[in-house]
């Protein structure tokens, strides 16, 4: 009995120069998946540890989803079967950066120096700090 997974991270969908550098790399990635499948597949899970996108905007997540669809399609070509489940956590590129001069953002940047910030953040789910974070990750959350 075993669980098999693919661990992917830091794709940075939308990164400058990715549009012309990625297609060749993707082809090699798909070729290598076929090689590795014989040893380590079939995969139950795709675990993605953040930075799916580069700026966290919804368009990038749409494009990212298209990339994942290609990946799933390729995996299905290699070995038809149940589609692997994609599970992901967000990275620092999966948020839309808030205005740096926003007072709440400035206070969040003082997290380590002002314990009141962390206390309010963890204890009050409706506080302004949490709203800043929810807004920043809105693109990721919608995806």
């Amino acid at each position: 009995m075993h669980f098999n997974w693919l661990h992917l991270t830091d794709f940075h969908q939308g990164l400058r120069d990715q549009d012309w550098l990625w297609p060749n790399m993707q082809e090699e990635f798909f070729r290598d998946l076929e090689r590795l499948h014989a040893k380590a597949g079939p995969w139950d899970l795709i675990l993605f540890t953040g930075d799916l996108s580069n700026r966290g905007n919804p368009q990038e997540f749409v494009r990212f989803e298209q990339e994942m669809a290609k990946l799933r399609g390729r995996l299905n070509q290699i070995a038809p079967g149940p589609e692997p489940l994609l599970l992901a956590v967000p990275g620092n590129h999966d948020l839309i950066r808030p205005a740096a001069k926003d007072p709440l953002v400035k206070l969040l940047n003082r997290w380590g120096e002002d314990p009141d910030v962390a206390e309010a953040f963890w204890n009050d789910g409706a506080c302004g700090y949490r709203q800043v974070i929810d807004t920043a990750f809105a693109g990721y959350t919608s995806w």
Binding site: D10, Q18, M25, A40, W43, L47, P90, R97
Partner: protein, 692 residues
Amino acid sequence: MPGYRRGLLPGDFSATIDKDGARLGILGLNTAFLQLADGDYQGRLALHARQFHGACGDSGPDWARQHHACLLLTHHSPVWLDRDARGQLDGQIASYGRFALHLCGHAHETALQQVSEGGTETRRQFQGRSLCGLEHYQEIRDGRVQRKVDRSHGYAAGRLELTSADTGNLLLWPRRAWKRRGQLELIAEPDVVLPVDEHTEPIPIKLLQPFRAQGGGPGHGQAISAVTHDIGLDASSSPRLCRMPDAPGPTPAPTDPQAPATTPPAGPERRLVYLSYSHQDRDWHRRLRAVLDAHPALKDRIWDDTKLRAGRSVTQEIRAHVPQARVMIMLGSPDYFAPGCGARELETLPALADWQRGDLDILWLRVRGHPIAGTPVADIMAANGPGAVPLDSLVPDAQDAALRHLRDQVLDLIGASPAAGTPATAARFHCFLSHNSSDKPRVRELARALAARGLNPWLDEEQLRPGLPWQPLLEQGIRDSAAVAVCIAADGLGPWQDAEMQAALQLAVRNPSQPVMAVLLPGAPDQPALPAFLAVRGWVDLRGGLKADGLDRLIWGITGQRLGSPAAWPGAPAAGAQARGGAVDEQSAVQVVAADTDADAWKVDCAALVHPTALAQPKSPDQPTPPVHPTPLPQAAAPDAPTYPRAAAIWRKKLDFLLEQEALSSNPAQRFEIAEQIAECRAKLRELGVQP
């Protein structure tokens, strides 16, 4: 999906995967929520047990116990967390061996780490390589700004095997894009030890609850046993740890204290100084080799790919020599650290593994600008100091100083004295040809003749770059040359030549091992007017043209090595030398002076051309016997004369000159140097039996 629950912060979640009666828990936590802007966030990010409990419904530990094994996902590795958050992670979230593996990313580099502190359950962390990591930076070359992209592509496959009711194994197949023949190919990650079939050795884990395979039989266990048997490993064996960076770059970390102590097999003796570089940096390699080769303690210890033997396997030769390295010098540049650089796989990464074990020292020199973060040497202090200012951004003098500093560091590491036999300068040229521009055609001929004899002369028209101020370059040329030849023809010294000569003489005062000599070209007067200090150094007479014997003499003066056999030297019957009762060997160069004084074609003062220290050194038996002219010797043969009268006279003149300079100099540093030279002169005179 069933078993999926969102958590407190965006992106926090827990999920349960059921498969054949086994339950795998996945916990994902957002570690990026404070990284809201550019800047260095290492050690500043937050994470809290509330996220764990929130994602798991109520109690994280209860959720975990419902699974046979759990995995933790975060974007950042723990090194990015602040102290409180690391306490939360270690003490509240990933405590009690709750997670078989913590998967993370962010640093674009692969790293596998396994830590057990104070006998607690082992925590394992795998940092994956970016699927599409593109790091943009700018580089200035030849005054032009060039945009560059560092690429890092990779991914990993993983497997959790449930091997028995209570135990399992983790296997990882990390992959990485590698440039081969100009194209990127995904291969097994070289940064991780993958001993068999491109995966890690099985890493044993304890299950969180007993596992009974569906169907009751040990079928799965059998299947897994078969896998481990096939690869010749004991499934219960302890994992052998791979590189364990705990930093965004591949920072080497201490090995797992719980891992069994392994005694590496005795390898070959480590005595080589291994030079690893990209062929794009071959000019830097050449310059460094010149500096290293000049030191007697290093000359026979240097190894690099120029020593590969024709017809042999490059890979095997390199693999055979890296384990013999006591010190590995790496010339850091964008090309050297590029994933496709051949040196990286065969030299850099194996050396880093040896470095982690303490088997060799790494000295890396940043010769061209590139981002250090993310390179394999990010955590190793560069040989060019904090900040590692790239050599190509320095003036040539500072570049040479950096190369010499590197050489001294190598000597220190191998336990040799930097001073022993070290030339005072890292000479790039054999001889600086100072001349009047009206004599250019003849000097050009001389340069060609020297080049044809394997020497590398400095000639202004070849070395002065248009558009740059040339006086400093002239001085640099003198500094970069092992010797200086002041060429004199009919027109005497030119205006700048005089300045060059003064500079050369000043440098010669500070560096007595740099010979400075006059070279008389056709048309030069019978009695050339030379400054006293140059005159006492004698001259090489090429007034009769570029004849082989004249060039031999000049090369002797430049290199200190006499060419040809004694029998071939003019007027030098070996029997005549022996007939003088062995005086030749004892009197060494001084007799050469005396003998040659009468020779028509040879008017070089060899005593001045031989390095001053050689005068006091016993002669090696295999050195050629200096020629002795058959005509009577005016001074040296007299039995009552001082043993080395001519040498004593030269040292006396040098002493007088230095005393004069000392009186005139107001610069304390210069006075100190002159005082040292004076002390040396006095010591030599005493050795020669003369009261200074």
